[in-house]
C-alpha cells in the first residue's frame, strides 16, 4: 500500500470548512451534477490550490469576464490540453521550489477539472502523456456523458443507445451505437498512484477520494459521474437520485485502484436495482426496447462481477504486512 495513504483518516462532514472556494452566482443549470462535485472538491483541497479547466460547461459558467467564480488561482487554455497545462504548472512549482523562489514547505495542489469530451476523446493523448510522466496532480473528470456545452452531442463517454443530437434515436438507428469507452481501464493501465470513481450522491466517499488524491505523490485520477438534467432530459431534482441509482444498478460501481494493482470496491451491490428504473428518469433512454434494456443489464452485471473478482484477487495487503 502507498505510504501516503497508510495512515489515512477518513474525513467526516464536520471536517469540511463552511467556506467555498468556488463562489455562487455562476451560470450552471439547475440541478447540475457537474458543478456540485467541482465545488465540493475545492472544499477539501482548500485555498492552496491551482485549478485548470478544459474548455467546457464548467469553464463557461464560471468565467464570463469580468466575473469569476474561482477564489483559487485558475487557468483555462484550450479544450484538450488541461493535463499538459497542469504538467507545466507542476513543473514550474518544482523548479521554483528547487531554486528557492518558492518555499519548499508550500504544498500546492494542482487540480484539473475536465468533462468527458475533454478526457475520453480530444484530450486522451494529453492525459496519457501527463499520467505516464508522473506529474504530481489531480485530474477530476466530470463525466456527463456527452458534449453538453455545444448542445448534447455524443462523446466517447456516451452510453450505448443514449439519444444525443449526433446520435439521435432514429427509426433505423437507436441512438448511440457504441458502448461507453472504458476510460477507467485506460487510466488504470498507466499504473498511477491513485484512481477512483465517485458520484455526487455518495459525497463523503467522493470527498475522501479527493483527499486521498491530494495526499499521493504523483498523478491521481477521479472519474465522477455527473448528471446533466439539460442534456439527459431528467428532472433537476433527480440529480442525486440518479447518482445513487447508477451505483445501485451496477452501471457505475464505486471503486479505487492503487498503483494500478490494488483494487478496492467501495460499495457492494448484491441486489442490484433494474437499469430500467434508472433509464425511465431520463428522456435520452425513453426509446429503448426491452431487448436493449436487457442487453445493458447483462453487460452491467458482467462488468460488475468482473470488478468484484478483481477486488478479491488484487486486494491491498493488510496493514502491518
Amino acid at each position: 500500500m502507498r505510504p501516503e495513504l497508510a495512515k489515512f483518516k477518513p474525513l467526516s462532514i464536520k471536517d469540511l470548512p463552511k467556506v467555498d472556494w468556488f463562489a455562487p452566482g455562476h451560470r450552471a443549470c439547475q440541478g447540475c451534477g457537474t458543478v456540485l462535485p467541482l465545488k465540493l472538491a475545492l472544499k477539501v483541497l482548500g485555498p492552496n490550490t491551482i485549478a485548470v479547466s478544459s474548455t467546457g460547461c464548467m469553464e463557461i459558467i464560471s468565467s464570463p469576464f469580468p466575473y469569476t467564480s474561482w477564489k483559487v488561482p485558475w487557468i483555462h487554455v484550450a479544450f484538450e490540453n488541461a493535463a499538459s497545462v497542469a504538467s507545466g504548472i507542476e513543473s514550474a512549482l518544482k523548479a521554483l521550489k528547487k531554486k528557492g523562489k518558492l518555499s519548499k514547505k508550500e504544498k500546492i495542489n494542482v487540480v484539473v477539472f475536465s468533462g468527458d469530451g475533454a478526457t475520453f476523446d480530444i484530450g486522451l493523448q494529453f492525459l496519457s502523456g501527463a499520467l505516464e510522466r508522473g506529474h504530481n496532480f489531480i485530474y477530476i473528470c466530470l463525466d456527463n456523458e456527452a458534449y453538453m456545452n455545444t448542445g448534447v452531442q455524443r462523446s466517447g463517454g456516451t452510453p450505448l443507445f443514449a439519444h444525443t443530437t449526433t446520435s439521435p434515436a432514429g427509426k433505423v438507428i437507436h441512438g448511440n451505437i457504441t458502448w461507453k469507452k472504458n476510460l477507467d481501464g485506460i487510466v488504470i493501465a498507466h499504473n498511477i498512484p491513485y484512481f477512483a470513481t465517485a458520484t455526487p450522491a455518495y459525497y463523503m466517499d467522493y470527498l475522501n477520494k479527493v483527499k486521498k488524491a491530494s495526499l499521493v505523490e504523483g498523478p491521481a485520477f477521479i472519474h465522477v459521474y455527473s448528471p446533466c438534467p439539460t442534456g439527459w432530459g431528467s428532472k433537476s431534482e433527480d440529480t442525486i437520485l440518479l447518482s445513487r441509482l447508477i451505483v445501485e444498478t451496477r452501471l457505475f460501481p464505486l471503486f479505487e485502484v492503487i498503483d494500478g494493482k490494488y483494487y478496492i470496491l467501495n460499495r457492494k451491490v448484491d441486489k442490484p436495482k433494474s437499469v430500467e428504473e434508472y433509464f425511465k428518469l431520463q428522456r435520452r433512454f425513453r426509446h429503448l426496447t426491452k431487448e436493449e434494456i436487457e442487453l445493458i443489464q447483462a453487460k452491467a452485471n458482467e462488468e460488475y462481477e468482473r470488478l468484484v473478482k478483481l477486488c478479491e484477487i488484487f486486494a491491498p495487503p493488510k496493514e502491518g504486512n
Partner: protein, 389 residues
C-alpha cells in the same frame, strides 16, 4: 568580451537558453530542431542546468506545458519546426492572448504535403498573425544573440517571442560563435518577476471568456502591446550592444546608400545575396540589400528608411501564400510602400522552397530581372522562381 569558439549553432543556441537560467523546458522532437532540445536535455541530466525538462508526447503539449509553467511564473523554453509548429497552432494564439513571455526557437522547415524536412519559411509564416514577436537570424551568432534578446523582450513586454533559424542551413552548421559571459547574461536578464501569475496568495483567473462586449478591447490591447514592443526590442538591442559590442537593428541594409535596385530578404539567404551584391557592385551595378531581422511587429519606418531611393525592389519570399497577391513578405512590403510616398517597381519572387539552393548566380539573375522591371513593368504579381516546367 567572450571567446569565439567553433560550435554547432543548435548547441550554441541551447547553451544560450541555459545561460538565460530557464526554469522549465518542454519539447517534442522534430527534425531539424532536435539538436537544440537534445543538448538541453543533456545539460539538465548532467546537472549543468537547474531546470525541469518535460519530455512531452506532442508539440501541442509542449507549448501547453510552457503556457502552464509560464503562467505560474517560470521562465520557459520550447523549440520546434514545421508540422510541430502547425500542431501547436491554437496554443500560439492563446500564449499571446494570455500575455505569457514564452520563448520558442523555430528551426524553420517546409510543411507537408509533400512532406519535406528541408528549410524554408512556410512554417513560421502560418503564425505571422499570432501576436508573437518574431525575429529572424541570418547566422549562428545572431541566433545566439537573438535568444538572449528574446527573453529580455518577452519578459518586459509580456509577449511570447519566436526566434527563427533556417533549418540545417543555420541550425546544423559549425560556426565561430562568441557566447556572452554568464555575468553579462545575468546582468542583461534579471530574474523573471511576473505581476500576474497563478499564485494561491494572490489568486487570479486566466483564460476567461471574452464576451462580445470585451473581446474587441482584449484583442486591441494585445495589438497595441505588440506594436509597443518595438521600442523595447530596440532598447534591448542597445543594452546588448553596451554589454557585448554587438549591434543589431530591426532592418539592416547593405550598400543601399546609392542603390538603384534593392533586394529584400529574411534569414540566411541574405549571406549569399550579399556576395552577389559584392560582385555586381564590382561591375559598377548599383545594387543593395535590405535584411529584415524583426518581422513582427513589422518595422515599417525602419524598412522605408532602409530602402532609400531605390527605383526597383526585389522581394524574396521563402513561403507561398496560396491564392494571394504575393508571398507574405511581398504583401507586407507592398502594403508598407502604399503607406508612404515611395513607389519603386516591385517584383516578388518565391525562392528556396524546401531547401532548394539559391546560389549567388541565382541572385545575380534575380537582380537582372529586377533591372528589367525598371524599363518594363512586370506582368506578374509574384513568381515562383526556378520551378522546373
Amino acid at each position: 568580451m567572450g571567446k569565439r569558439v567553433a560550435k554547432e549553432v543548435s548547441i550554441a543556441v541551447a547553451d544560450a537558453v541555459a545561460q538565460c537560467r530557464v526554469d522549465v523546458i518542454s519539447a517534442y522532437p522534430i527534425t531539424p530542431q532536435t539538436h537544440i532540445v537534445e543538448h538541453l536535455a543533456e545539460l539538465v541530466n548532467n546537472g549543468e542546468l537547474d531546470a525541469e525538462y518535460v519530455p512531452v508526447e506532442s508539440e501541442h503539449a509542449a507549448l501547453s506545458v510552457c503556457i502552464g509553467a509560464s503562467a505560474t511564473g517560470a521562465r520557459t523554453f520550447t523549440s520546434t519546426s514545421s508540422q510541430g509548429l502547425l500542431f501547436m497552432y491554437e496554443n500560439l494564439f492563446i500564449a499571446s492572448g494570455l500575455r505569457l513571455p514564452i520563448v520558442m526557437v523555430i528551426a524553420n522547415r517546409s510543411i507537408s504535403a509533400p512532406i519535406s524536412i528541408w528549410n524554408d519559411h512556410s512554417d513560421v509564416m502560418t503564425m505571422r498573425d499570432a501576436g508573437w514577436i518574431q525575429t529572424f537570424a541570418e547566422n549562428g551568432q545572431e541566433a545566439v544573440d537573438l535568444v538572449y534578446h528574446a527573453y529580455k523582450v518577452a519578459e518586459k513586454c509580456l509577449l511570447p517571442v519566436a526566434v527563427n533559424l533556417d533549418g540545417f542551413i543555420v541550425t546544423h552548421v559549425v560556426e565561430p560563435i562568441e557566447m556572452a559571459e554568464q555575468e553579462v547574461v545575468d546582468k542583461y536578464l534579471p530574474p523573471l518577476k511576473m505581476k500576474y501569475k497563478l499564485d494561491p496568495k494572490k489568486p487570479v483567473s486566466m483564460g476567461a471568456i471574452g464576451v462580445p462586449e470585451i473581446y474587441t478591447e482584449a484583442k486591441k490591447a494585445l495589438d497595441e502591446a505588440l506594436k509597443a514592443s518595438y521600442k523595447v526590442v530596440i532598447q534591448a538591442w542597445r543594452e546588448f550592444e553596451k554589454l557585448t559590442g554587438r549591434r543589431y537593428n530591426p532592418v539592416e541594409s547593405y550598400h543601399m546608400e546609392d542603390a538603384e535596385v534593392g533586394m529584400v530578404i529574411m534569414g540566411s539567404l541574405a549571406e549569399t545575396a550579399s556576395n552577389a551584391v559584392d560582385e555586381l557592385r564590382a561591375k559598377g551595378k548599383k545594387v543593395g540589400l535590405v535584411k529584415i531581422r524583426l518581422w513582427r511587429p513589422f518595422p515599417m519606418q525602419d524598412f522605408l528608411k532602409a530602402i532609400g531611393k531605390v527605383k526597383a525592389l526585389c522581394v524574396i519570399d521563402r513561403a507561398i501564400s496560396h491564392g494571394a497577391t504575393g508571398g507574405p513578405v511581398g504583401i507586407e512590403v507592398r502594403s508598407a510602400l502604399y503607406q508612404s510616398n515611395k513607389r519603386p517597381r516591385l517584383v516578388n519572387f518565391i525562392a528556396g522552397l524546401s531547401g532548394r539552393d539559391v546560389t549567388k548566380d541565382d541572385f545575380k539573375e534575380l537582380f537582372e530581372r529586377t533591372f528589367e522591371a525598371l524599363s518594363k513593368k512586370p506582368k506578374f504579381s509574384y513568381e515562383i522562381y526556378g520551378a522546373k516546367e
